[in-house]
Point group: C2
Chain length 481, copies 2
Amino acid sequence: MSPKALDYESLNENLKKAQYAVRGELYLRASELQKEGKKIIFTNVGNPHALGQKPLTFPRQVVALCQAPFLLDDPNVGLLFPADAIARAKHYLSYTSGGLGAYSDSRGLPGVRKEVADFIGRRDGYPSDPELIFLTDGASKGVMQLLNAIIRGEGDGVLVPVPQYPLYSAAIALFGGSLVPYYLEETANWGLDVADLRQSVAHARAKGITVRAMVIINPGNPTGQCLSEANLREILRFCYQENLVLLGDEVYQQNIYQDERPFISARKVLMDMGGPISRELQLVSFHSVSKGYWGECGQRGGYFEMTNIPPRSVEEIYKVASISLSPNVPAQIFMGLMVNPPKPGDISYDQFVRESKGILESLRRRARIMTDGFNSCRNVVCNFTEGAMYSFPQIRLPPRAIEAAKKARKVADVFYCLKLLEATGISTVPGSGFGQKEGVFHLRTTILPAEEDMPEIMASFKKFNDEFMEQYEDHRGYSRM
Amino acid sequence: MSPKALDYESLNENLKKAQYAVRGELYLRASELQKEGKKIIFTNVGNPHALGQKPLTFPRQVVALCQAPFLLDDPNVGLLFPADAIARAKHYLSYTSGGLGAYSDSRGLPGVRKEVADFIGRRDGYPSDPELIFLTDGASKGVMQLLNAIIRGEGDGVLVPVPQYPLYSAAIALFGGSLVPYYLEETANWGLDVADLRQSVAHARAKGITVRAMVIINPGNPTGQCLSEANLREILRFCYQENLVLLGDEVYQQNIYQDERPFISARKVLMDMGGPISRELQLVSFHSVSKGYWGECGQRGGYFEMTNIPPRSVEEIYKVASISLSPNVPAQIFMGLMVNPPKPGDISYDQFVRESKGILESLRRRARIMTDGFNSCRNVVCNFTEGAMYSFPQIRLPPRAIEAAKKARKVADVFYCLKLLEATGISTVPGSGFGQKEGVFHLRTTILPAEEDMPEIMASFKKFNDEFMEQYEDHRGYSRM
């Protein structure tokens, strides 16, 4: 009998091609070890609450009340909830017709989309139109919706930074398109050189690929760099000249750990440029409640904002969003709260500021501890994590380790990360899952383990790395490296 | 300059082909009218809370506590929450690592998947394996994941009932496959005839299409029929003979309004059949927290269970689910609560039973009021809503109405439904959005408006319909119809 539709050999090939290393071999092995009772430190994915970060109190109070609206009439409600949380819950419930249990419009609740537009307007200094903002179940879902609209077949290419967050490579494979890589320069603190971009596009075109869009991740994932205003201007001009849609993944905009280059949105730079480019360049920007000092990953809330996208295309994107009926409504409330946090004078303001500053300042210290820890190993070099939630050190592996990996039929950094996992319980993602230059190896770890655990984790990494090097290094001389 | 990637003419054609009438022209017009201040009764989508259905208290208490876990330590918590809700919240939080703010495994929380497996085991009398159950953001997302795995290109066909829920036609178009319709027989209470199925497959094959899968919706949407055990056995045997995956959309399994044919799952019938078919037929079954007496649409919770799917394919489906990281966690808790509701003796048991029975019994009465109301119009015939949440009356339109529609460049049932909307505020979906035989017209409405409003709504419908007929009927004699 011929194979059945869900037999492996008969599945959609694009599905099989998609790779997603963040939950790949390393994660699966870590899950097994955890089942066997080993203590695992999951630093494979930016999942702050899983590593002990406490949720912000005020938003949780508001959403809890929205889930249990019958409490709003209870005379005892004030014993458990502050008055501003009660008022906010009523405010958000007034945006819904039927509370959290009713589907919203497929683009999200109009009231929340208005609050997002106001936030963007304040942030950028240019008004934003709620009709061009769609709420989504996390930013990933929005990215996938847009890539699905852009990619018509394998002749369509999307410029993606390498190293990159594998959502992009996976989604492009799933939709049957072609990934066109552009390399970030590690020695220039993961900088983006527009001359390289031109070369990447030329290479792709020579292969018959129509390059349709470009992805930037700012701050970078896994690389942590923050793009300068001048660099963003160059990128925008490049996209305009090359007729590319720019997809701006800006989910880490609150996660900045240096003062030289504060976050600036691609949209603001575009508007500042003025002229035809500001009215013609197609830009879609993504944001999320999963990152920042919120870390509400499990709620799955995000949005995208469209700039210069023709109304008919917006309608098509709306139509496709409608097939899934609506993004989950509780996370829409979280998004409203994120863009509209407590204000000075509100009962919960001081607590909110204390909690959020505490998280961000600790992340900044952890970024430093981690970078320094990696750089204290003689075969490891690591750029400082300027933003986002990751450290992406380069691990210089001796030839004998690379040979041993080959014998074990593993990519060398997978081999290294598996050994690290078995020895220490630290679950990372090999650099090969993000893309890297030939013969160079990295790993990605989040900077999210609790600050008090950080010194021990870095010591445990260093000890493992020293032993690994001891085992595989050619002792006849370091110069061979 | 050539078009940009997000210009309409340059979008992915599959995206443009996808149609989703439930949120189509009628819904958009209704939203406009609502903005202008008209009172709209949204019966276009099965969204019970939007029409006043109250959420069940106990599950909302549990999820509210999971959102605000700091309340669990508050000495006053017992003033607002019963002890069993507090215990349940602790129970579900123990399934997570990091509460609702942490991504879960991409298949969902193992603890909840175990509770789902136990529920299926109790329901069907055959054990179910949690490793083959994936939690999803509503059933729609699961259906899309599976269709994406099955469809490789336009040569791949999926058998879909007509009339059908347009999720199927839209998703098949989006993934670039071919919909192979099989007609439900209106005069046989929307029954499914296996001889017709064979004919549909033969037709498709003659056109060079490889039919890979078959969809059943039981109870039916929009048609409301409940499949008998004998009919399910025939369908399973047919899929086995024809080497088809069966996708069983069973989201309305709690919504049954007659006693002759209680819900029986495709999986139970398959297991009862025994022999090679029970070990080889590939079946995927879908369920949701959005329907039943829960109606928690806005939470976006669902699951699918795979039967006889090879482990390597399960891994691929897992990998693709991982790209979106995890279904939203609060809805996973709702799913746990749905499959594991309060038990006799629990503090909240009586209230839970009172609330859920109240909703179901009222739905049963509403199904009757609506069917009778439609059948009291001389040009309308309507099968009784045996299950699900919809009424799907056939509207016999006079030739002059069909001509008038043609002049207005509308499909005749769209024309009729638009007039109904303008006159009464009742927002329905034209039958053409679900598929129907040539020259026959329907509309779909939910049975969800509040029971006390039902007589007025049906009177308002009847008045509109009488006036419409008055306007368009040929008064020289009814026999012309």
